[in-house]
């Protein structure tokens, strides 16, 4: 068998490659070191999220949302529950709303730290990666305090939370904010003005504002390209309209701007957490409605009404049954706009639960970002997208 003389060299990067976090394949065509063509193959982690949620009750679906963006699972929980609550037309007591906001921002910091840490590690900065992991650990302890788990949180319930935050929650979080902020400053000192990273990141993987909008970008990548779109400000949900925070916007849309936007956003998230902690009210975290919220275990085992309430929510064919209708609810997660489009036909399971994953659209635009760049630039560009396999392939 003779091979024809090739002017371009095909190279399959992935699906199992250390820099392809999770599993994805980029089929590159190289002319020397320059990428002349690229296609992206996804779906290696497809597990039928929508089909699974269609087979489970409204509350059971929350477990599956953990596995979407497993770095900041709490924000997925919150997004799903907000969509179902919009369908049910219920509103949370203030403490529940505040806790959801606080933990969303904690998760955002975790996600950005992971992204920055991994991105700089792939370009050679092991120290900065370890600093980021250290700071992430402080906040994972808070996540663990709230729900007992670190990654697969399953923290919210339709109409509230699985449990109130523990007694020392506020103090523990207040203690950790300066520690995380200190790490942010260290990261800033290590990377932002470091010649190595400026050379690697500046004018690499640029995407213009128009192209970013054409590809439906959202989150840090869209803002790095210069469009100040943030769901938290443009269509406020939870209680984001009560807080004072800024939305960092880049100018060039390259990897360096994306890094800076993420770094600034962490500071803004910390500011939101501080403001929310100052105002954190007391009271219930879940709606006081027996048709939505499970009763206390002491009631279930202690009296007949509690037992009936539990039965009515847990038994097949009972449980939550939202009115027929459909709802699209979008939230700003660390990667961009996470949308849930949920259809109910009045049954105890969702008829359809579509997730609009933020990194799906970013991966669709990846060939546009890497064509014409060097093959070594593929790694930082891909790192700046912050692709999460669980949410990309669902």
């Amino acid at each position: 068998m003779l091979l024809p003389a090739m002017s371009v060299m095909p190279l399959a990067m992935g699906p199992s490659h250390p820099a392809m976090h999770g599993i994805v394949r980029i089929n590159l065509e190289l002319d020397g070191e320059v990428v002349v063509d690229a296609t992206v193959d996804i779906g290696f982690l497809h597990r039928g999220f929508e089909k699974m949620v269609e087979r489970h009750t409204w509350n059971q679906g929350i477990v599956y949302t953990d596995r979407l963006n497993y770095v900041s699972a709490m924000m997925n929980n919150v997004g799903y529950c907000l969509a179902v609550e919009k369908l049910l037309d219920i509103e949370l007591p203030p403490r529940g709303v505040y806790l959801r906001t606080i933990m969303s921002e904690v998760s955002r910091v975790i996600d950005h730290l992971t992204c920055i840490g991994a991105q700089v590690m792939e370009t050679g900065a092991m120290t900065a990666f370890l600093y980021a992991m250290k700071a992430r650990e402080y906040f994972y302890e808070i996540v663990e305090m709230c729900c007992g788990a670190r990654i697969t949180t399953n923290w919210t319930r339709v109409g509230g939370l699985c449990a109130d935050a523990p007694g020392n929650f506020v103090e523990a979080l207040r203690e950790r904010i300066p520690l995380v902020r200190e790490v942010n400053v260290e990261l800033d000192k290590l990377i932002t003005k470091n010649r190595i990273f400026i050379d690697r990141y500046r004018n690499v993987g640029c995407i213009s504002k128009e192209d970013a909008i054409d590809f439906s970008f959202s989150g840090p990548l869209l803002r790095a390209s210069g469009a100040p779109y943030d769901v938290r400000r443009d269509t406020p949900y939870l209680n984001y309209d009560e807080f004072d925070f800024e939305i960092p916007v880049g100018t060039r849309g390259d990897v360096y701007d994306r890094y800076l936007v993420r770094l600034f956003e962490m500071e803004q998230s910390l500011r939101i957490i501080e403001q929310a902690l100052d105002k954190l009210p007391g009271g219930l975290v879940s709606v006081d409605d027996k048709r939505v919220t499970l009763p206390d275990k002491s009631d279930v085992y202690g009296n007949i009404e509690g037992l009936i309430d539990q039965f009515k929510l847990i038994m097949d064919g009972h449980g939550l049954q939202p009115e027929p209708g459909e709802v699209y609810h979008s939230t700003e997660v660390a990667n961009g706009e996470l949308g849930y489009y949920i259809v109910s036909v009045g049954a105890d399971t969702p008829y359809k639960c579509r997730v609009r994953p933020p990194c799906f659209v970013l991966m669709a635009a990846l060939p546009k970002m890497i064509i014409g760049q060097m093959v070594a630039d593929v790694i930082p560009i891909f790192g700046s997208i912050n692709m999460i396999g669980g949410e990309l392939d669902r």
Binding site: I42, G43, H46, E50, D234, Y351, M363
Partner: protein
């Protein structure tokens, strides 16, 4: 514009037959026959008073045994300049193609591939309508309501590289046969 104003502006300026406008849970909704989707999207994108420059989401719903036509393709548009949203629902029957929006929105390419992959709805004039999440050998479309939830279709790893190699070798022989 809020949803009510948006709907009234759309009602007065769009002149297609068979349009249905409502406001559903704070979002403006337009229902339209599938064949008109591309025309409607062009107007929504180009008219400055709407300026829907972002296709946020595209998916489908299978209404097997509940509604005819069977499928509903659901678009969510967003305007970054006006900060308003719109849902467009296009009813489509099995086998009937929907006009592709790839010319208007680049992201429609992947969204439409996903809908084709999971629901088997074809998009006319799509440049590359291939499966995206599943593999090419997959039979059926798993998010259809008549696809059994517990059906398994493993991809046998030993078949495809061997077959591909065989094809290559046969072709090689053909080419170099005197």
């Amino acid at each position: 514009m809020n949803s009510v104003e948006l709907i009234s502006a759309l009602t007065t300026s769009l002149t297609y037959p068979d349009l249905l406008f409502i406001v559903d849970k704070d979002i403006a909704v337009v229902a339209i026959p599938a064949s008109k989707v591309a025309d409607l999207a062009t107007e929504l994108k180009t008219r400055p008073e709407f300026a829907f420059d972002m296709l946020t989401d595209l998916t489908a719903v299978d209404w097997l045994g509940k509604q005819t036509p069977r499928f509903e393709v659901v678009y969510h548009f967003y305007s970054t300049s006006h900060n308003h949203r719109l849902r467009v629902k296009a009813a489509v029957d099995e086998g009937q193609p929907v006009p592709s929006l790839t010319k208007l929105y680049s992201i429609a390419n992947w969204f439409e591939r996903e809908v084709w992959d999971l629901y088997g709805i074809k998009f006319a004039r799509h440049p590359n309508l291939k499966r995206i999440l599943l593999y090419e050998e997959f039979k059926g479309h798993p998010l259809r309501k008549d696809y059994p939830y517990d059906k398994r279709q493993p991809l046998e790893p030993e078949t495809w590289p061997v077959r591909e190699l065989q094809v290559q070798m046969e072709e090689g022989r053909k080419i170099h046969r005197p």
